[in-house]
């Protein structure tokens, strides 16, 4: 913190005590708190993934017993989804950037923001402690009546953990919505908002409308086990398919909680490294909202093989295809943004390229799953596993990495080393494809998921996959190393290392505790790269002329 120029107080150097971190209400510090916690969660989930992959190297279950394996993938799924990916971009980058991007001094409710982190920690701790001590073996989907009546593991505690964690997500979404509506700087009209903000807004809609439903649903599961409520238990007259409806009413929209912010990041990175206005701003903004809204009508595509009525299945299928269209619009617009741009290849852009390729594969294979007759074959096989890892790991995490690298200089004031960053991006891309592409083939060949033992003819796919995952693990460990290294040894970043537009780039890196010394007044469109370039050029020319 003692570079020569950075004598000014920034949010990191303002105070140093532990209490100043644990009791902070500065959105930037809370973002860092979240960053640290979700990284730990990612490592726990990744460790479980490593265990899964090691076990699946051979068809016989020789590394661990069935129950252990079942607990491993359950813990992996729950940790990765609820404790890592859902809070990942919103709670770190979102928390950090939403006020900065709209020219506000903080989120509307800073205390609630801190509260949400504590709730998250409590929920996650309960969840982890429960899954580590007793273990939970229901799969992340907690299907009844297995979870309510048959599982011998401790379902109640993790369910309560999830219930609690849900509220942190709700509070984050609430905070964003109020902030975006009420706290924009003068002149920051809706159509001058960066697309990242639109994406966060759309995400928050989903958090608000969907999360309470999972909360009440897992609460009912917990109470059912305790009291024999039987709302979802067929023995007590309940309907397990209703549980699935309620579960996916949240969990399908939740996949958009994971991907929308990722799309928002990509919408920032691509124009910046193309030095060009984003193509079709309005359409990208509108597609975020339509994904969030239409995303509420498609959950039944997870129920195609259940006794859900055929007509409901058809309705869900057709809307599933409709919801792919806004994603298509985004993809095409990102591509078009590069047309006649000035494209450079810094690490965030490499990650963004990775996102484009992998999201494309993940999204397109979603279409296979949405096709009714075909899903009857591939449902609950590795085809589905590959699909969602392509989107969640290949898409969302790639974008998260892109964003983390893009805004790292802003968050820490330091540049990371470019070479290792690019190498890591490449390693992740290669390792990822090697891990998950064979799973498509295994899935279509008929290998069911959540299988500890599998017929030997599937071994070839699994060997490839396990090999890939070790490369992938390396790829993820690399950033951990050089990003930490950069905190100390990275060169100072300056206000705007990428020449990006956007309010966050006009203030110091790292920003001061109150973000803006005076409230900015916005008079320009977002992504005015050509104009911004012209302005700086003119400015430089006049400076030169004066000298």
């Amino acid at each position: 913190m003692q570079t020569s120029e950075a004598k000014k107080v920034n949010y990191l150097s303002a105070q140093h005590t532990v209490a100043s971190w644990l009791l902070t209400i500065d959105h930037k510090r809370i973002a860092i708190l979240y960053l640290v916690s979700i990284t730990v969660m990612f490592l726990i989930g990744g460790l479980m993934a490593a265990a899964i992959r090691a076990e699946l190297l051979t068809p016989a279950g020789d590394l661990m017993g069935s129950d252990t394996y079942n607990k491993a993938f359950t813990l992996h799924g729950i940790v990765m989804v609820f404790f890592f990916l859902i809070p990942s971009i919103p709670a770190t980058l979102g928390n950090f950037l939403v006020p900065l991007m709209i020219g506000a001094k903080d989120l509307a409710f800073p205390r609630i923001n801190l509260l949400s982190w504590y709730i998250y920690m409590v929920g996650a701790t309960i969840g982890i402690v429960a899954t580590v001590t007793g273990g939970l073996d229901t799969g992340w989907t907690l299907y009844t009546p297995y979870s309510t009546a048959y599982a011998t593991t401790n379902v109640v505690m993790p369910a309560i953990g999830l219930f609690i964690t849900g509220f942190s997500s709700i509070l984050t979404g609430l905070n964003f919505i109020v902030t975006i509506h009420k706290m924009r700087a003068p002149g920051m009209t809706w159509f001058r908002l960066p697309l990242f903000i639109w994406a966060q807004y759309a995400t928050s809609i989903v958090m608000i409308l969907a999360t309470p439903v999972i909360a009440i649903t897992v609460l009912m599961v917990a109470i059912d086990r305790g009291l024999g409520l039987g709302i979802f238990d067929p023995k007590a007259g309940g309907d397990p398919v209703l549980f699935q409806h309620l579960f996916w009413f949240y969990s399908h929209p939740a996949v958009y909680i994971m991907i929308l912010p990722a799309m928002g990041v990509i919408s920032e990175v691509i124009p910046c490294f193309s030095k060009k206005r984003i193509f079709g701003y309005n359409f990208i903004a509108a597609s975020s909202l339509s994904i969030a809204i239409i995303g509420f009508f498609v959950w039944g595509h997870h129920l195609f093989t259940t006794p859900q009525s055929m007509y409901a299945a058809m309705a869900f299928s057709i809307i599933t295809f409709a919801v792919a269209v806004p994603s298509a619009v985004k993809t095409f617009n990102w591509t078009a943004t590069m047309y006649r741009g000035s494209v450079s290849f810094e690490a965030p852009m490499i990650y963004a390229f990775g996102f484009m390729g992998l999201f494309l594969v993940g999204g397109l294979t979603g279409l296979f799953l949405g096709a009714l007759g075909l899903d009857l074959h591939v449902h609950d096989t590795y085809f589905v596993v590959a699909h969602f890892h392509y989107i969640m790991v290949g898409g969302a995490i790639m974008a998260y990495m892109a964003g983390l690298h893009f805004w790292w200089p802003k968050m820490t004031g330091r540049m990371y080393p470019e070479g290792p960053a690019k190498a890591a991006a490449l390693l992740i891309f290669v390792g990822f494809n090697l891990t998950f592409f064979p799973q498509f083939l295994a899935g279509y060949a008929g290998m069911p998921r959540r299988y500890h033992y599998y017929p030997p003819e599937f071994q070839i796919f699994n060997v490839l996959s396990t090999a890939g995952s070790s490369i992938l693990a390396l790829g993820y460990l690399l950033p951990l190393g050089y990003l930490l290294w950069s905190l100390r040894y990275g060169r100072a970043a300056g206000r705007n290392p990428w020449g990006a537009t956007g309010l966050e780039w006009m203030i110091d890196s790292p920003p001061s505790p109150h973000n803006f010394d005076e409230t900015p007044v916005v008079t320009w469109e977002p992504y005015d790269y050509p104009d911004a370039h012209r302005r700086t050029a003119e400015h430089a020319a006049s400076e030169a002329a004066r000298v």
């Binding site: 001094k105 409710f109 800073p110 608000i208 409806h245 109150h514």
Partner: protein, 214 residues
């Protein structure tokens, strides 16, 4: 003077923005509450549609008179709550305290009656964990009571939380924290309490009244 200034949190431009943000935030929170109760109501609607007669029969075990009484009590508490907000707005501290206490009393009466109903159900063997009722189609009747207890239990929990919040508000008011320019917490508590009332306005007919005749 300095007190007023300290109420305006540093990140807001002015008090109006702060007030707007707080009330809007509360409305958004109420949206999550709608969805929260909504999950259970979905279960209710689905099962009611699947087993209409059994549910109708089961609902006859509920006491309409107590339900009606509680409805009146709760709506009354909504009125006193509205009056409390009104008094806060006019900075009538005395009245504010009276109305808050009235609201809490009415809320407690509601909870008392509810507790009475619950014990009654317990003795009748209609409680999920203690279900020994053996009437026709007991399995689905039991489902009705599961949903009934889940919904009313959740509602009662909200009321208990509401009363807790009112205690805090009362304390703040007695310390002179509110005046006509700043009574946002009272307003927000009011919104919450009215919402709890709203939920009951739907639960009452759904659970007690539908298909009551015959």
């Amino acid at each position: 003077m300095s007190e007023i200034a300290s109420r305006l949190q540093h990140h807001f431009a002015n008090e109006e923005q702060q007030y707007d943000a707080a009330t809007f935030g509360m409305w958004v929170f109420l949206v999550t509450e709608i969805m929260f109760f909504g999950g259970l109501l979905t279960a209710y609607v689905v099962y009611r549609t699947a087993y209409p007669e059994v549910f109708a029969t089961a609902s006859h075990h509920l006491n309409v008179y107590l339900g009606t009484f509680n409805t009146i009590v709760l709506i009354g508490s909504s009125l006193t709550m509205a009056m409390a907000v009104h008094s806060a707005r006019l900075n009538q501290r005395q009245k504010l305290a009276v109305y808050l206490i009235l609201t809490m009393i009415l809320g407690s009466v509601f909870l008392g009656v509810k507790a009475y109903e619950y014990t009654h159900k317990w003795h009748e063997g209609l409680f999920p964990g203690n279900f020994f009722y053996a009437g026709p189609d007991a399995v689905h009747q039991r489902l009705f009571f599961s949903v009934y207890f889940a919904l009313t239990g959740l509602h009662a929990t909200h009321m208990i939380i509401g009363i807790g919040i009112m205690l805090v508000i009362l304390r703040m008011s007695m310390k002179g924290r509110f005046d006509e320019t700043w009574y946002t917490p009272v307003e927000i508590t009011g919104l919450y309490w009215h919402f709890v009332d709203l939920v009951w306005i739907f639960l009452f007919p759904l659970l007690y009244l539908i298909q009551r005749h015959g």
